[in-house]
Symmetry: C2
Subunit: 202 residues, 2 copies
């Protein structure tokens, strides 16, 4: 597509680099900003720039944070005997949103994926082992909350091998039929896992 202005083209090129945003959507967003008050664009770009230059990562659990230690790692109200291992900060936010978990977290920063050039050393695995080692008995359980994909399973397997010599319980989040999901539409693997991983009825 040809654009009537080089400024529009440059902006579309940059916006279209964002994940899930095609050139048509990018054009729509850019033209929206042109129609709006200039102040809107300033607020947007300031927020993004401010975020990118001031964002920190928690030195303990590696989640994104305003400071060098996140509010969860600093909190005295959290159960320090459980650590939930997740891939990314957004997984942690999703679990926090359920209000069903009060322990600590550890953000790996991805999963082992040789196809994408991600090995165990690109992930925050050593620091997890270090945390468990240092806490010496304080940590009683590690929950693996990774994606149910080949990469997620590989990572879980690797992690298990790395930490199963510690006196801790290693668990994995339940796989099964989603709440509100229909049995007959579930795929076989999920349905199979929901049978083998069945729980007692009350």
């Amino acid at each position: 597509m040809e654009y009537p202005s080089k400024l529009i083209e440059d902006a579309v090129n940059e916006v279209a680099k964002l994940p899930g945003i095609g050139r048509k959507t990018a054009l729509r967003l850019v033209l929206h900003l042109v129609k709006e008050n200039e102040n809107r664009t300033t607020l947007l770009t300031d927020a993004l720039r401010n975020l990118r230059s001031n964002i920190r990562f928690c030195r303990i659990c590696h989640t994104i944070s305003d400071s060098d230690e996140c509010s969860i790692c600093r909190s005295h109200r959290r159960d320090r005997s459980i650590v939930c291992v997740v891939e990314e900060s957004q997984d942690m936010m999703a679990i926090e949103n359920t209000s069903q978990y009060s322990g600590l977290y550890h953000v790996l920063g991805g999963v082992i994926s040789p196809m994408n050039g991600v090995g165990p050393h690109e992930l925050k695995i050593e620091t997890l082992v270090g945390r468990i080692d240092k806490a010496a008995g304080e940590i009683k359980e590690v929950i693996l909350a990774l994606s149910p994909t080949m990469e997620g399973d590989t990572t879980a397997f690797y992690l298990n091998k790395k930490i199963n010599h510690f006196p801790i319980t290693i668990s994995s989040i339940a796989r099964g039929i989603p709440v509100g999901g229909d049995l007959e539409y579930a795929d076989e693997v999920t349905l199979g896992r929901s049978i083998t991983g069945r729980t007692l009825f009350n």
Copy 2:
């Protein structure tokens, strides 16, 4: 949803104000920028700011442009006897993309919509009348390429009333079955229009 950082929250709030972007998508885009090199964010915000502060509107056809007169209005290769009236600059880009039209354009900046507080005076209607009046005989045809909605039809009706005393042909883009579209799935109004607006077979 709670965010682990005020910076993330501010950025999500701003991004989610864009049309068609919800808070979940906004979070995904923002976290993508956090993961990428800081340079990416700078390129994006610079392009948007540069666009918003330097964009101009053509003083003749009102499309977005790099300068005070757009490349189409300046061009000597365009047919100056036809003016195509569209709602927004993106409609003009879409028509340009077809390579089927070589005339001029006029961008209204919207359609008459009393519900949204848009009356004829909010649109670039007076300048269109002025253009036709000033060109005195040079402009032979005005094509109305407006949305087939109640607002679009109202605007077309109003425009027709404003310019039909000039010695020009006023036409409207064809309504009918889209190319590749299936007859049986077309709505009745479209199918009806395709019958009444039938064209000679070669």
